[in-house]
């Protein structure tokens, strides 16, 4: 089962993203975390395949959490959620080995679903093969 962890401190957006993903991929196991500490804990226990990580979790930096996760679980796919599609953000994402860059309010649902579908297809292909 493909496990997704959504790390987002805004409850409304976290729930909305979860609903959106489930509406498209009902079979997914989707978990939630509202801060960095919870995120690390759930990563360690659930070992998700993919993480949607908000770049800012209150006073915490999403990038710092990504750094910690990637250090321990380099194969987990991570998409970062930012408010700004700026070169500095993309460069930071690259620096922290983020796999996908999503801009809140700008990226469309299709962008997200399309990217997730491509991930799942690739996983299925690998699993099938």
């Amino acid at each position: 089962m493909f496990r997704i962890l959504i790390v987002e401190d805004n409850n409304f957006f976290r729930e909305l993203l979860k609903d959106t993903l489930l509406s498209q991929f009902p079979s997914l196991d989707i978990f939630e975390a509202a801060d960095g500490k919870e995120a690390i804990q759930k990563v360690n226990t659930l070992l998700p395949d993919l993480i949607f990580m908000d770049i800012r979790l209150g006073e915490e930096s999403g990038l710092k959490i990504i750094q910690k996760i990637k250090a321990k679980y380099p194969n987990i796919i991570i998409a970062i959620l930012t408010g700004y599609d700026l070169p500095e953000y993309r460069e930071a994402a690259r620096q922290y080995e983020v796999d996908h860059f999503l801009t809140k309010g700008i990226s469309t649902q299709e962008d997200i679903i399309g990217w997730l579908e491509s991930i799942l297809s690739a996983r299925n292909l690998r699993m099938g093969s």
């Binding site: 805004n10 409304f12 957006f13 800012r56 070169p87 809140k104 309010g105 649902q109």
Partner: protein
């Protein structure tokens, strides 16, 4: 017959002969008589002559008896001539009993020769005794003629002359000069009377050649020679003594100074015979004169200098006297003024002795202390008013350097209800003639009201400062809160709405229901634009990138945006610091400084280049914003007349100061502006930030 005849004739002859003889005898007798008469005449004449002479003349027998004596002889012994006759001469003039042993007459008797001898008489007179023999026809000595002449004066004269000659000779020989005689009629032949020619000229007499006036003349320097010759010739013509100075080159070639004095001597024919003179070497005198002249010149100069100095000193002294009189007058006037000032001034004044005892206080001081003026003398200042200032007072005594206290706090022990009072005071030492501290002048000014106002003002300013700081903190917090609200609230909701709309459209497309979705689709870009607007507002309030990615990427973003907005300005970035080296609280301050600084550049500087430096050294973090713009007068900009830029600059400075940093701005008109900010980084790093 013939015999008779012969005898007769013989007799006749004899008679005739007798007659002839008689006649001759008569003639002879006649002659004799005449001769006798002549002789008598002569004898009388001779006696007269012999009596006239002052010389003693006697006619003596061979045994010295006086036959005749002249008047001088008789007068010499005060006897008549007759009284001398027949007496021995030595009895008369001795008086002796026998002839004088050295009588020349004895020798004449013996030898028949005339004799002469000088004999001194007991009365110290000198006599010249001469004796002459008187002989008969046979040449036998029959008598003696003795003479005696008093030659005392002559001898004395001769002696004087001899001594004079000796003296002259000695003088001549010892004279430090050449004594000479020039024989004018013998081609100016020169005779020297001493041996000084060679010592003085180096020449021997034989080496000299004749000159116009003497044989020394050719040795005289040509410059002096004509004058010497002229002087000597004039002297000869005028028969006058002369004196002339000249220089002479001696045999060695050295120049010597000579002084010559001479006198022409004329002959009985009225023509010059010779010149007698002396030549003196005055070289030493000349040298001495020259030295003296130089000395005199020098003395003259010194006298002139000294006179000038004295004149100057005199003038100065006079001026000083005038000045002193004026000063005394002024001093007296000042004393009166000072006394009036001391008694009437509102400044409290105190005179203390060196042990801090009150000597005198003025009314103002007594009033300030609320005591009577008579209470102070005889008491010690610190007895009345013990205070921590005693050490300062003692320091003034030691160092003699005045001390000024500003707003020094003091509580009157006798008036604690007045609370803490504040005093500006000065303590000055007065020195005696030996430079020792004699007394102290203590002047005070009550600044309690001013100080209390200052304290109140300071407190007010501190509060204002604090408030200002709090305001900035609150502003930043509020901005952050609003930005967060916008991000977490509105932006999330809009994003959610967009997701919902997108989901709804997705479902419609999947269901195959034919319906008009266009109006709904147009909502999506509106929502996206709304999100961007919210982000813009949020960024203006507090750029999310600062919180999301840190200061270095925030700077990168801001500079990029700035250059895009102001295409004429290029920012050269010199970043030499790591993100984690920047204390978190400082990041917002740095961002705001950059924002303010670059806003000023674009607004005022007309620069086309900004050098932005941000680096960390061992001890501090440094931020520099340097532009190449037109620069400005910083003081003017900070004045109240230019509030817009001034407020920006003040705002920057406040942010830096509140964050514990140092701020400086340097601007040169025409060359640009440089803002430098630094923060010390210690182990604890920077805690504050805005």
């Amino acid at each position: 017959m013939e015999q008779d005849t012969g005898t007769k004739e013989q007799l006749l002859v004899e008679i005739e002969d007798l007659r002839t003889r008689l006649k001759e005898a008569e003639e002879t007798l006649c002659v004799l008589q005449r001769t006798e008469e002549i002789l008598k005449k002569f004898e009388r004449g001779k006696a007269t002559i012999l009596d006239a002479t002052p010389e003693i003349i006697t006619h003596l027998t061979a045994d010295m008896k006086i036959i005749w004596a002249n008047r001088a002889a008789s007068e010499s012994v005060d006897l008549a001539p007759e009284q001398l006759m027949g007496r021995y001469c030595y009895e008369i003039w001795g008086p002796l009993s026998e002839p004088c042993p050295n009588c020349p007459a004895l020798e004449t008797v013996k030898t028949g020769e005339a004799g002469e001898v000088e004999i001194s008489s007991p009365d110290r007179r000198i006599w010249l005794h001469r004796s002459y023999p008187v002989t008969d026809a046979s040449g036998n000595i029959v008598n003696i003629v003795a003479t005696a002449l008093d030659i005392t004066e002559r001898k004395r004269t001769e002696e004087a002359l001899r001594r004079s000659e000796n003296a002259y000779r000695t003088l001549s020989e010892n004279l430090p000069g050449i004594v000479y005689r020039v024989f004018i009629r013998e081609k100016n032949r020169m005779q020297f009377f001493n041996k000084m020619l060679q010592p003085m000229t180096g020449y021997l007499v034989e080496e000299l050649s004749a000159g116009e006036v003497c044989s020394v003349e050719p040795l005289i320097l040509s410059e002096d020679r004509a004058a010497v010759v002229a002087t000597v010739k004039c002297a000869i013509l005028d028969n006058q003594p002369f004196e002339v100075e000249y220089r002479l080159r001696d045999k060695k070639g050295d120049i010597r100074h000579f002084l010559e004095r001479g006198k022409p001597i004329y002959g009985e024919d009225g023509k010059p015979l010779y010149i007698d003179g002396v030549i003196l070497d005055i070289s030493k005198r000349k040298l001495a004169e020259e030295a003296l002249r130089r000395s005199l010149d020098e003395l003259e100069i010194r006298v002139q200098e000294r006179t000038a100095e004295l004149s100057k000193a005199n003038k100065e002294l006079k001026a000083e006297i005038v000045e002193r009189l004026r000063a005394e007058k002024t001093l007296a006037e000042q004393s009166r003024i000072l006394e009036a000032f001391f008694t009437s001034t509102i400044t409290p004044l105190v005179f203390l002795d060196r042990d801090f005892n009150f000597v005198r206080v003025n009314e103002a001081y007594a009033r300030a202390c609320q005591r009577d003026i008579s209470e102070f003398p005889g008491h010690n200042h610190f007895e009345f008013y013990p205070s921590d200032a005693r050490a300062i007072f003692e320091q003034v005594i030691t160092t003699k350097v005045p001390y000024q206290a500003v707003a020094h706090p003091f509580v009157f022990p006798d008036h604690p209800e007045w609370g803490t009072t504040y005093w500006d005071w000065t303590l000055t030492s007065l020195l005696d003639s030996k430079g020792e501290v004699e007394s102290l002048v203590f002047s005070l000014e009550d600044v309690t009201e001013r100080k209390r106002d200052e304290i109140a003002l300071q407190e007010s300013e501190n509060q204002l400062h604090h408030l200002s700081s709090q305001l900035l903190v609150a502003q930043e917090k509020e901005r952050k809160r609003i930005a967060r609200e916008l991000h977490d609230g509105l932006q999330q909701f809009l994003t959610g709405i967009k997701f919902k709309v997108e989901g709804f459209l997705q479902e419609i497309r999947k269901s195959g229901i034919k319906t008009e979705t266009k109006p709904l689709e147009t909502v999506i870009p509106v929502i996206q634009e709304s999100v961007r607007e919210i982000q813009r507002i949020q960024t203006n309030l507090r750029p999310a990138i600062l919180d999301d990615l840190g200061i270095l990427r925030a700077i990168s973003w801001f500079c990029r945006e700035y250059e895009a907005t102001h295409p004429g300005i290029h920012i050269e970035r010199k970043i030499d610091i790591q993100e984690d080296e920047v204390p978190e609280p400082l990041k917002m301050v740095i961002y705001r400084l950059l924002q303010e600084g670059l806003t000023n550049v674009s607004k005022h500087s007309r620069a086309d280049l900004v050098i932005l430096s941000f680096r960390k050294t061992d001890s501090q973090i440094e931020l520099g914003i340097q532009d190449n713009g037109q620069g400005f007068d910083v003081q003017e900009a900070l004045s109240v007349e230019r509030p817009s830029r001034g407020l920006g600059l003040l705002n920057m400075r406040e942010r830096v100061e509140f964050s514990g940093g140092s701020y400086s701005i340097e601007s040169i008109k025409g060359e640009g502006t440089t803002i430098r900010v630094s923060w010390k980084v210690c182990a604890g790093e920077i805690a504050r930030g805005l």
